[in-house]
Symmetry: C2
Subunit: 222 residues, 2 copies
DNA sequence: GTATGTTTCAAACAACCGTTTGATCGAATG
DNA sequence: CATTCGATCAAACGGTTGTTTGAAACATAC
């Protein structure tokens, strides 16, 4: 068959990954059934187990396909930043931009998952599913260590305990924002803010978390 | 039988609510089965449907029991704050403390749900389950309107669009922190920070979100 | 004591879950 | 052409899901 006309007929495994990616971010892992996935991918029900082994393994497969490009990009951005800064520490603003820009790049590139994967990744971080509690950290260890270390260098007056809390808060805000969870929408019926465009979100997001990170150290003897 | 000795034998419906509260926060709504709930509550399987009608309705029941005291307390705290400030606007720091203190009060009072309900509430906000997407906003409308309005008065130089984003980020950080989702634990194998005591969290949390809220307005023509 | 209305109970319901099976297809290899 | 091997398929697997049923147990009122 002419590989020119029918080459678009994508791989079965890829079709499954694409379908699962969308459904997981829409309904969550537990609420997404095998039958929903295979139906959307237009493949046989048994195809998931044949190609991936199990539903849990498929979940991991969805991530391993996308995760490496993202972490590599985020680390590259930080590398470049530190190279430019030379002996000085890059500013917290620049560090946070390096991270968020990596996510934005992915979000605008459908071939690397696009906004759907960014939302799925964020949602998964927040919900923390057991099937990924072991595999995800391995992918991220270097990334987080590098960013935590860079932030610590930029903020030497914040003790490491408080800084770790602040980074935790900052990433909470970042991941929730990218996950499309406009928390206000949960209780305000008609929110002014409803855009899901990550680039727009980042405009307001970065200054917010930077301000929180660089705030004066909390008094110890409270 | 003597109501003195056996009065502690609590209501069946209450036993179900208590059991469901714990299980929902531990495993999430979807992953918690009726049989898990009734087994923990030591009641018959049919009791849930008899007393609440359905699993979804039980989910709502878990919230309506606890939500009113929490929102009332949070609004009371804000009332008191504004009364003290007179014509002046309370500081953002005081406003955020009013909200967080309400959550802390609940967290330390087992009779109003304790830390378990605070975590469940936070988790539910983040995950946003369909069964509550309609009922929760009604409970919270006044609360959020009041706090948003107070914050707007304290920060007149921030336009309402940006302020709504910032509030969204701030509540993301707050709810995630109380939900016990130490995001860093997801990728750092041995986090320095691992405490779940809400009062300890709040020590670092409030300064962080306040700094983010009161940061200079983002330049518009970027 | 009898009748009334509420609560509890074991059992079963249909529907769905993730997974497995064994047959069948299709293309590449000898 | 025959064989082999990976991919696809309909069908069924055992198990769990939320919910319903009808009888039994209970308390309350007449």
């Amino acid at each position: 068959m002419s590989d020119l006309l029918e080459a678009r007929q994508v791989d079965t495994a890829t079709r499954i990954l694409d379908a699962a990616e969308v459904l997981f971010v829409e309904h969550g892992f537990e609420a997404t059934s095998m039958r929903m996935i295979t139906q959307r991918a237009e493949v046989n029900l048994a195809a998931v187990n044949y190609h991936f082994g199990s539903k849990d393994a498929l979940f991991q497969g969805v991530f391993t396909r996308r995760l490496t490009p993202l972490t590599r990009l985020a680390v590259q951005n930080l590398d470049k930043l530190e190279a430019e800064a030379g002996p000085n520490a890059p500013s917290v603003d620049a560090i946070m931009h390096a991270f968020v820009d990596a996510a934005l790049d992915i979000a605008h590139d459908p071939k690397r998952g696009g906004v759907i994967f960014v939302r799925l990744l964020s949602r998964t971080f927040v919900e923390s599913h057991p099937a990924l509690r072991e595999s995800l950290p391995r992918h991220y260890e270097e990334l987080v260590a590098r960013y935590a270390q860079a932030t610590a260098k930029a903020l030497p007056h914040i003790d490491s305990n408080e800084l770790q809390w602040r980074l935790s808060f900052a990433f909470s805000a970042i991941f929730n924002a990218f996950a499309g969870n406009n928390i206000l929408r949960l209780f305000v019926s008609d929110p002014v803010v409803n855009a899901r465009d990550p680039r727009l979100i980042a405009t307001y997001l970065v200054p917010f978390v930077v301000a929180g990170l660089i705030a004066p150290a909390t008094a110890k003897g409270a």
